[in-house]
């Protein structure tokens, strides 16, 4: 089971990417036996209700919702117990952990490794239109999310000028010079090449 943590600030496009991934896998494995589950999802929400369940449940995948807390700190034991349970009972090819936009993904990866025994890769989605505001409002969190990433996706390139995009790219690259960075827009769907890069690492 490969674990992928989707991180990035609120509204950056984590759920949109996740829905693109579920749709892609559904198309890819139309002929697969129904008993085989290729993807399981853990969905975290700080607030008392998890709205994303509405959207993700429609994709036909079982979603393990964790609400009213953060899996990087207050819900670590719930997270690791769920990871162990999924790995033993469901055995999917992938377990996608969608973190809340207020989470430190490195803490999630560390907990998953220490308490469930799995390595996890971290994908961080950056909202090109609002990254500077995020960085200004919550610098430690913004820096922490970038620093932990194995792959950076700068999203909403359609919503900003070329000057602003260059500025965001520079801000991100300065902080993570060795991390692969892709520019994209998910406004009209998620590019399959991006989905394959996230799922297969190539």
């Amino acid at each position: 089971m490969k674990i992928i943590i989707l991180s990035g600030f609120l509204g950056s496009g984590k759920t949109t990417l996740l829905m693109g991934m579920t749709a892609y896998l559904s198309r890819l494995h139309d002929d697969k036996a129904p008993a085989h589950i290729d993807l399981a999802i853990i969905e975290n929400e700080i607030g008392a209700v998890n709205i994303d369940d509405y959207a993700l449940a429609d994709a036909g995948y079982e979603v393990f919702g964790m609400t009213a807390g953060c899996i990087c700190c207050t819900m670590v034991s719930d997270l690791t117990e769920c990871v162990r349970d999924v790995s033993e009972r469901i055995r999917p090819d992938w377990l996608i952990v969608e973190a809340t936009g207020l989470a430190y993904p490195q803490s999630i990866a560390k907990a998953v490794k220490e308490y469930a025994g799995f390595d996890a890769s971290i994908v961080c989605i950056v909202d090109a239109a609002r990254f500077d505001a995020f960085l200004q409002a919550m610098p430690p969190l913004a820096e922490g999310q970038l620093a932990a990433a194995d792959l950076l996706l700068v999203n909403k390139t359609d919503a900003v000028s070329s000057e602003k995009l260059a500025s965001v790219r520079r801000l991100v690259s300065e902080r993570c010079p060795d991390t692969e960075l892709l520019l994209l827009s998910m406004k009209d769907g998620v590019d399959e090449a991006v989905i394959r890069r996230v799922l297969y690492g190539a």
């Binding site: 609120l10 509204g11 607030g47 709205i51 953060c70």
Partner: protein, 139 residues
């Protein structure tokens, strides 16, 4: 024996008595997350989506007017065999729906995460948005 006080007994006129929606507010990393659940027993699905979209835009405007940062503002509307997902980060509300139903009776959930706003202001804003989801009117 305890006496149950109604809004009217407390001095409110009938016109201003409103059902208050329970709003939960949590803080994390300096941000506030507020949420609430509403039962809309007599509101048709399409109308509920429309009213919820207007409520999200209203709440986004209130947050922005205070100079605060919207993390996200989201809502889900669920009816018999149909659901809708609404969200905004800047006042422009996107809507995704799955299924349709003409039957009245929906359940809606609102969630807002913001940075740079007091708990009281956020709670009041979500309350105002919840009223709009319920009635289709602001105030």
């Amino acid at each position: 024996m305890a006496r149950k006080l109604t809004g009217a007994a407390l001095g409110a006129s009938k016109a201003v008595i409103r059902r208050k929606t329970p709003v939960t507010v949590r803080s994390h990393e300096g941000a506030l997350a507020a949420s609430c659940t509403l039962d809309l027993p007599s509101v048709p699905f399409a109308q509920a989506i429309e009213q919820t979209g207007a409520a999200l835009a209203l709440l986004a405007g209130l947050v922005q007017a205070q100079g605060a940062l919207i993390g996200h503002i989201k809502a889900g509307v669920e009816a018999d065999g149909a659901s809708a997902f609404l969200s905004t980060t800047d006042g422009r509300v996107s809507v995704r729906t799955a299924g349709e139903t003409a039957a009245a009776g929906c359940k809606a959930q609102l969630s807002a995460i913001v940075v740079g706003l007091s708990k009281e202001v956020l709670e009041a804003g979500v309350q105002r948005a919840a009223d709009m989801v319920r009635t289709g009117k602001d105030g």
